[in-house]
Amino acid sequence: MPESAQLTACGAIVAPVGRRAKVLAGITDSFSAGLGIFPFGIALGLLVMQLGLPWWVAPALSLSAFAGSLELLLVGMIATVEPLAAVAITVFVVNFRHVFYAFSFPRHLVRNRFARLYATYAMIDEVYAVNAALPKSHQSAARILAMQVACEIYWVGGGLVGVLIASLLLGPIKGLEFALCTLFTVLALDAFRSRRQIPSVMLAGASIAIALVVAPGVALFVAMLIFVGLLLVRYAIDRHHTGRSESA
């Protein structure tokens, strides 16, 4: 599919111009992510209260980790007072995937030093994912930062709402976390721009299949490692081929 047709299909032919438009675009980007993040935050707040921890653990965890699945794990670990070394290893393993985001996260667009620190700290799955699905010309510092701030507000806000719900003893809505699955699926569809992506999709499919069989508990981490490993092999094979065709 030609790039122009793709952009029309996305419903945004023209990249946002001007700071205001970019910030608005970033906030708009955050809505679909927020549908997944906000209920996740509520779940976190509920769990904190259910395990009898002080209410401020919910917002404090959200600010210090800013990574959904990890926080739910940590709440359980805090409640049972796991050794700090176990906490450190868990954080390392669960969040290790962020190491790979640097390859394709356009942090270089953010020029201001402090803003850049914030952009690094707030490089969560959802922000990485939404940005990766955007055409290059639509990416900008203002858009990234606006989305990050909005997502952090949803996270912390969701946690506080969860705490509130738990103290009022209302039941949560079952199944809302499915929003995260639909979001990542939709973004994967958008990132699939041409047939040239087929090898990547197949390698990713193989990676997650192997990871789910070998290590279902840490499937995300293992799948990322295998995927990057396979991409490195692909790169080596590509180089080998182009090297040969050049010399032929």
Binding site: C10, G11, F31, S32, L61, S64, A65, F66, A67, S69, I78, V81, L84, V87, A88, V91, F92, N95, F96, H98, V99, F100, Y101, F103, S104, T120, Y121, A132, A133, I173, K174, G175, F178, A179, L180, C181, T182, L183, F184, T185, V186, L187, A188, L189, D190, P199, S200, V201, A204, G205, I208, L212, A219, L220, M224, F227, V228, L231, Y235, D238
Partner: protein, 108 residues
């Protein structure tokens, strides 16, 4: 009931490791910015990473609510169909797909 100092230590450890994992690769990449390897990886990675995130999120939802796999499959089909047929409006696709799952789980 854990002590406050213990909780604060957990928070400090979490923040340091998470930030280091997010920041360190950029420091290394600074010197690799021009390399073809990084360029190729940045082109190849997004679609695969998003696919992996989608699968693990799917599994997380289904494992979190046992017996809901039969609802998750049609809900995902609705998400994909709406996205491809209604002009790739992310918020619309996510809302309708999630609403399908939530309704099936809570009403059936």
């Amino acid at each position: 009931m854990p002590e406050t100092t213990y909780i604060l230590a957990v928070l400090a450890i979490t923040f340091s490791i998470t930030f280091a994992l997010r920041a360190a690769p950029f420091a290394v990449l600074g010197t690799l910015q021009e390399s073809t390897l990084v360029e190729e990886l940045s082109r190849w990675m997004p679609v695969g990473v998003l696919g992996i995130l989608a699968v693990t999120a799917f599994r997380g939802s289904v494992v979190g609510l046992p017996g809901t796999a039969i609802y998750a499959v049609p809900a995902l089909a609705v998400t994909i169909a709406v996205h491809l047929l209604c002009g790739r409006r992310t918020l619309l696709s996510v809302t309708l797909g999630t609403a399908t799952f939530v309704s099936l789980v809570n009403l059936l």
